[in-house]
């Protein structure tokens, strides 16, 4: 199906475990983004990517790792999950300038 999809939709993990959130888009958009949404903070940018093999830190990158070996995929890895990383994570993509971003359905991650 066309669009942007995230998996899993819900995840519960234990403190210290590694967990990877997947994001896949079918538009061949250049830019992809990971945000976390927390009450009182809105959406904060974790990492973004301007193209395959090009990634950059956002506002809150600590504890996260990303990769972008293919244009359509942008996985986000929590190397050693902490309770403070309990959040809703949104992936987004957009084309070149003068275009809007499209968002995935989100992944609700709980770290216990």
């Amino acid at each position: 199906d066309a669009g942007i999809t995230q998996s899993p939709r819900y995840k519960i993990t234990e403190t210290g475990r590694q967990v990877t959130l997947m994001c896949h888009q079918t538009w061949s958009h250049s830019y992809m983004f990971w945000y976390r949404q927390d009450l009182g903070h809105g959406l904060r940018l974790i990492y973004y990517s301007a193209a395959a093999d090009i990634t950059d830190k956002g506002e809150v990158p600590d504890g996260y790792v990303v990769s972008r070996s293919k244009t359509e995929n942008f996985p986000l890895t929590l190397e050693s999950a902490t309770r403070s990383q309990t959040s809703v994570y949104f992936c987004a993509s957009r084309g070149q300038t003068n275009t809007e971003a499209f968002f995935g359905q989100g992944t609700r991650l709980t770290v216990v």
Binding site: L43, G58, A92, N98, A101
Partner: protein
Amino acid sequence: AQSVSQHNHHVILSEAASLELGCNYSYGGTVNLFWYVQYPGQHLQLLLKYFSGDPLVKGIKGFEAEFIKSKFSFNLRKPSVQWSDTAEYFCAAYTGTASKLTFGTGTRLQVTL
């Protein structure tokens, strides 16, 4: 650093009341501006966008926004809200030379019957 500010954190309105949500951004030059809406339990959807041209932008569901460059503002308006407009509203921006899209902290709108 670029930033986006939304000063109204929680707004409660009666149905049919008029709405205006404030949004200010911190940088000059070419800027692209957006309003997104998030209904309860859902992902973000685009309400409207501004890239250039007419500073009064019409969006979906009767929403509009006005870009005022001198005030660095992009306020969202709707003449008459409906109960179904209950949601969280986010203003966002990116500059022409920057890749990243920056969001405000959001405004929670509650419309009562």
